[in-house]
């Protein structure tokens, strides 16, 4: 009894300022008050400042007619439409350049990383110079070089460079011959989409069977075959002409027809993806090098081919390390797209700034811009975090 009583006595004799439980509660309360008070003050301060300057904080103006043009809107837009629509056009442009940029940068970055790790001295040093060059110049400088120096010195429309295809390249952009869906093309698209879904299901089913039985089920060629077959079927159903080649033709000032990339979009995409690829290359290299060397040696020892070593042993383990820093790179790319302002690509920030000016509403529009980037970033990291959770090592 005596031995159990002693600690009880001691405990009650601890002064409150040394009692861990009480201290924890105090810390919680203090930090809540500090943070809450700070937020409160900030909001009050902000509201007063806005009132004092007569700045309205409503979003009604978004329904008013915009009155300003947007260059090459990706979706239907003309100046009679609303400020809200204009902002949305900017958002679509941001998404376009970010998504294509992320894909391009990932592919390029991975290739550069593999080249960097190559045992070929020349290849690995070319990759090294690429990384060091693009990682160490500011993106804005790169943008100006690409847009004003490189694209600005392309020939004028009438003296366009012609590449087989034909692809026309001039100061006004890149014009590609592009298959355009005809009116009878709908069955083709439907068949192809069905084929895609079926192929995907078959792929997973066959792969699972192989994992269980250990026998090769040729899941890749089979599913690819399904896609091709459905495409051919669709071709027949649509009467043989689901597509029509649309060739760029010089009409008046510019080419029309075909697929066109404006210098603004192309410049943005090129600069963003080459710049980010340099960072991604380092992330990928770090991931690959972090896989224990023993894994590689063991894989070789059991007789796997180089491709199998890479795809079955190295990459799955490297991905676990690569994904988290990759998320940051994707977020950076998305946010860096706001530099497009400098070269006249009208994404959400540059349209937002015009709205601010033409509608005279700085605070709500800046709020909207911040919200847009916040949502984009959170969405990106959510998707990648889900993916990351799937590929993490399952420990039992």
């Amino acid at each position: 009894m005596a031995s159990t009583q002693t600690p009880l006595v001691q405990k009650s004799s601890i002064p409150f300022y040394r009692d861990e439980r009480i201290l924890k509660i105090i810390a919680q309360v203090v930090s809540t008050v500090v943070i809450g008070g700070f937020i409160f003050l900030a909001v009050i301060n902000f509201r007063n400042a806005a009132n004092a300057r007569g700045l309205t904080l409503t979003f009604d103006f978004l329904k008013e007619s915009a009155g300003f043009p947007i260059s090459n809107p990706p979706i239907d837009y003309d100046p009679t439409m609303t400020f809200g629509r204009a902002f949305f056009v900017g958002l679509v442009n941001t998404l376009l350049v970010s998504v294509t940029g992320i894909f391009a940068a990932t592919i390029l970055g991975t290739l550069v990383a593999l080249a960097r790790l190559s045992s070929n001295w020349l290849l690995s040093h070319i990759a090294l110079s690429y990384i060091e060059f693009f990682r160490n110049i500011p993106l804005l400088v790169l943008l100006f070089i690409v847009y004003f120096v490189v694209f600005g010195n392309l020939p004028v429309v009438k003296e366009s460079i012609v590449w087989p295809g034909p692809i026309y390249i001039n100061k006004r952009g890149f014009y590609l011959t592009w298959p355009q869906l005809t009116e009878s093309g709908t069955p083709f698209v439907i068949m192809l989409s069905i084929g895609f879904v079926v192929a995907l299901v078959v792929y997973f089913l066959l792969r699972r069977r192989r994992e269980i039985s250990g026998q090769d089920t040729y899941y890749l060629p089979v599913s690819l075959g399904i896609v091709i077959l459905s495409g051919l079927l669709g071709w027949v159903f649509s009467g043989g002409t689901p597509f029509q080649l649309s060739t760029p033709v010089l009409e008046g000032f510019n080419f029309s027809g075909g697929l066109r990339f404006t210098p603004e979009f192309a410049g943005m995409l090129l600069a963003l993806s080459t710049y980010t690829a340099a960072f991604i290359a380092e992330v990928v290299r770090a991931g690959i090098q972090a896989v224990d060397r023993g894994q590689l040696e063991a894989a070789r020892a059991v007789g796997l081919t180089t491709m199998q070593v890479l795809s079955l042993i190295i990459m799955p383990q490297a991905l676990r390390i690569i994904i988290p820093p990759m998320i940051s790179q994707y977020l950076n790319l998305t946010k860096n797209s706001s530099l497009a302002l400098a070269i006249g690509f009208q994404e959400v920030f540059s349209v937002g700034k015009i709205v601010i000016n033409q509608a005279g509403r700085a605070v709500p529009v800046f709020g909207l811009i911040m919200l847009t980037y916040l949502v984009l970033s959170l969405l990106t990291s959510m998707v990648l975090n889900l993916f990351n959770r799937r590929i993490q090592l399952v420990t039992r």
């Binding site: 007063n48 300057r53 043009p69 100046p79 070269i343």
Partner: protein, 372 residues
């Protein structure tokens, strides 16, 4: 739990930002006369702004800080540029210098804040500048949203510039053209109106930075560029080969370029306005930079009033001294002298006939109420 912490961190960061913004605006833009009354109701606000603002008003703030913060530009020859020594000069800059000379007695006591076209509205709304003199077109919506427009100092209109090689002779041939234009301007709205009105299609290439607009145009990204005609003339003068470009004879809009002051300070508005009146009246009365001292003993009563030698032109009500306007004229000259310095027959930047910017007595539109 982890998510809520992240959320909280986010909120804190956001509010920090807001607080910082609020605080910055607070010091940069002291309470103005009309708002001072509202503010006394809220005790938290009284301690805020710098002591300069205690008396309210931009005039007092300018006097106590000893400099005039002027929104301008450094990239447009004739209006706002840098000279060989890196000093700001130009038509718009001289208007600021005139105000600085009148209020502070020193035309060099300006702090010129270079702004893009799209930044002009927000800096006025938050009163980050005391005065905006940067090719601002006076429009009804800007008057309502931005600030108080003083007196139109340059009557302009929007035109089109094309290359000689393009073979275009009139705007009728513009269908399908690519047009380079500056964002956040009346120009971009007029452009869209013009093409809509005439049922023509066009491709706009839009930059925020004026120099980027003309760099892209000169490189051939666009067939056409459009802006106020004075700006086109100015830019063309800086091209590698000015003769290869033509400014078409058509004018598609009214662009009254006018200095602006922030909303809510009547005294300051009056002060800037009267300085502008004085520059115009000085030309009308033949008072120049060189003869302003001599004219103080002129036998023309109007001149004596303008130069503060006889009667009060209102200076005592504004808190200025009698000599203020004479100092402004001595610093930058009269309206015609300012114009000719940059855009006259022997102008530093380029030559543009005065046209509507002649005095009303010479068939132009430049007219100011009498200073008396």
């Amino acid at each position: 739990m982890r998510k809520s912490i992240a959320l909280l961190t986010l909120l804190v960061a956001f509010s920090l930002l807001l607080a910082a913004c609020g605080a910055a605006e607070e010091t940069a833009a002291p309470a103005e006369a009309t708002e001072a009354m509202e503010m006394t109701e809220e005790p938290g606000e009284t301690e805020g702004p710098a002591p300069a603002a205690q008396g309210g008003g931009i005039l007092d703030k300018v006097k106590s800080s000893g400099k005039l913060i002027c929104g301008g530009r450094t990239d447009l020859a004739g209006f706002g540029m840098l000279d060989a020594d890196g000093n700001n000069e130009g038509f718009d800059v001289d208007l600021c210098r005139a105000v600085a000379a009148a209020v502070l007695g020193d035309p060099t006591a300006i702090e010129l804040v270079p702004l893009t076209a799209a930044d002009r509205g927000p800096v006025l709304q938050t009163a980050e500048v005391d005065m905006l003199s940067r090719n601002v077109t006076w429009t009804a919506s800007r008057e309502a949203q931005w600030g108080n427009f003083t007196t139109t100092m340059f009557f302009d209109g929007q035109g089109f510039m094309i290359t000689k090689d393009s073979g275009i002779t009139s705007t009728d041939e513009f269908d399908g053209a690519t047009v380079c234009v500056t964002s956040g301007t009346t120009t971009e709205q007029n452009l869209s109106d013009f093409f809509r009105q005439n049922g023509m299609s066009y491709e706009a290439v839009i930059f925020e930075d004026t120099s980027a607009v003309y760099a892209a145009y000169e490189e051939g990204r666009c067939d056409v560029t459009t802006s106020d005609k004075s700006q086109l003339a100015s830019v063309r003068s800086g091209f590698a080969d000015p003769d290869a470009h033509i400014i078409l004879d058509i004018t598609i809009s009214k662009e009254p370029l006018t200095p602006v002051v922030p909303h809510g300070d009547d005294t300051w508005y009056d002060t800037v306005n009267i300085v502008m009146f004085a520059l115009i009246n000085a030309e009308e009365l033949g008072v120049t930079q060189d003869n302003v001292e001599a004219m103080k003993t002129s036998d023309n009563i109007k001149v004596l009033r303008l130069l503060g030698q006889e009667g009060d032109w209102g200076y005592s009500d504004l808190g200025l001294d009698a000599d203020a306007l004479a100092r402004a004229i001595a610093a930058v000259g009269n309206y015609g002298e300012i114009y000719d310095r940059y855009m006259g027959p022997n102008g530093k930047s380029f030559t543009l006939p005065r046209g509507p910017n002649n005095l009303w007595t010479n068939g132009g539109l430049i007219y100011a109420p009498p200073v008396k």
